[in-house]
């Protein structure tokens, strides 16, 4: 099967690229490994996207999906495992098919970073979570922990402090990067306890998470009883399968400027998986427009 533009990932960047590609009369296929929308579908309310002040993540994703479909973009739910550069065309491979493309836009975004402690996978949905706003409500009046030093970790702890009996914020360093205001607000809360210079070494569970073992820098080990552990240790760009055609930086982000061009002619990157300062819906959408416009220009030249 042959398309002018194949887009890898149907999040805000990929679906916006599809709109621009279709409006330039190119045939467009989107390949998505999970559901359309990407991580935004977990957002309860989006309040920083122009024009729509309180839209839910689900509604945002669905409207964008319908808009791209209405313009004639095709969607297939398959995971892309590799891209081959054949010069005048590219091959985009999934486990079950190979699609020929004039140009490719990689808009795969990022995935949650795991803590990397034993039994973590097994306990997802049984106390371990990567989304406080999604799952926090299940731990009303319980004792919970947040792991991480990211801005998200601080926001999660603040959100949970309103719901839970007590919140432990566990960070392997003794300071937080950015978000000073959130840190100050957390320090003012009676039900938030900081465990700094501390790592989580073990998860104790029978059917569900019961406690965690933590070890501080000075060697002290203690067991903390919690019903939930919210992991907020950052995200990982999903570029692992594409290093044959694009350059990645030391954190795995695709090296490309605001023009979304990569080292391979005809292959573009858009959205959160690209090296950039600001990762927001509006910048993902902007990347989608830039990458698709560049792809159209490439196809027409």
């Amino acid at each position: 099967m042959k398309y002018d533009i194949v887009i890898v990932g149907a999040g805000p960047a990929g679906m916006t690229a599809a709109i621009y590609g279709r409006r330039a009369n190119k045939t467009v296929l989107l390949l998505e490994a999970a559901s359309y929308g990407g991580q935004i579908i977990n957002a309860h309310k989006i309040e920083n996207y122009p024009v729509e002040p309180h839209i839910s993540g689900f509604e945002f994703a669905t409207k964008l999906y319908e808009q791209a479909k209405e313009l004639g973009a095709e969607f297939k739910f398959e995971k892309v495992v590799g891209i081959e550069d054949k010069g005048d065309h590219k091959l985009v491979n999934t486990p079950s098919a190979s699609y020929e493309a004039g140009a490719v836009i990689i808009a795969t975004g990022s995935d949650k970073r795991k803590l990397g402690v034993d039994r973590e996978d097994e306990l997802v949905g049984r106390g371990v979570s990567y989304c406080a706003t999604c799952d926090g409500a299940f731990f009303r009046k319980k004792v919970v922990a947040v792991a991480g030093g990211t801005r998200t970790a601080l926001e999660d702890a603040l959100y949970l402090a309103d719901i839970a009996e007590k919140v432990y914020l566990i960070h392997r360093l003794d300071k937080f990067s950015g978000a000073e205001a959130d840190y100050d607000r957390l320090k003012a809360r009676d039900n938030v306890e900081f465990l700094l210079n501390t790592q989580i070494t073990k998860l104790n569970a029978d059917k569900k998470l019961e406690s965690i073992e933590v070890k501080s820098k000075d060697g002290t080990v203690q067991t903390v009883e919690v019903s939930a552990l919210f992991v907020a240790v950052g995200r990982v760009p999903e570029n692992q399968n594409f290093s044959a055609v694009i350059d990645l930086d030391d954190k795995g982000y695709a090296v490309a400027g605001e023009n979304c061009l990569t080292r391979t002619a005809g292959i573009f990157v858009a959205g959160d998986n690209r090296v950039k300062e600001v990762r927001q819906l509006v910048t993902a959408a902007a990347d989608g427009a830039v990458a698709a416009t560049a792809a159209v220009k490439y196809l027409n030249s």
Binding site: A34, S35, Y36, G37, I41, N42, A43, H44, S56, G57, F58, A61, F77, V124, G125, R126, G127, S129, C131, C134, D135, F138, F139, K207, K208, S227, A228
Partner: protein, 102 residues
């Protein structure tokens, strides 16, 4: 068959005493991935007579959710002869749900 809405009143009859394997979908109105999953489950329910698919709203049925230790949704639980045999958390595409039912 369509997806059956289950509450604590009909849970025993629809799930525990079912003669077919049951796929239980724990969900909520505020959960985006749950809404993504719903049409996938409707489609499977429409094409398979050998399994029953039921939907439980965790806000209305917090006791059932608690009984099953649900703390993240969407949560799919496969129940056979009244007992849990498999579980999966988060959005799953059609193929992954069918795999869960194998």
């Amino acid at each position: 068959m369509a997806v059956v809405k289950v509450t604590r009143e009909n849970f025993e009859n629809e799930v525990i005493k079912s003669d077919k394997p049951v796929l239980v979908d724990f969900n909520a109105d505020w959960c985006g991935p749950c809404k993504m999953l719903a049409p996938v489950l409707e489609e499977i329910a429409g094409s398979r007579d050998d399994v029953k698919i039921v939907s439980i709203n965790v806000d209305d049925e917090d006791i059932l959710a608690e009984d099953y230790g649900v703390s993240s949704i969407p949560c799919l639980v496969v129940v056979k002869d009244g007992k849990e045999v498999k579980r999966s958390i988060g959005f799953r595409g059609k193929d992954a749900v069918l795999e869960l039912l194998r």
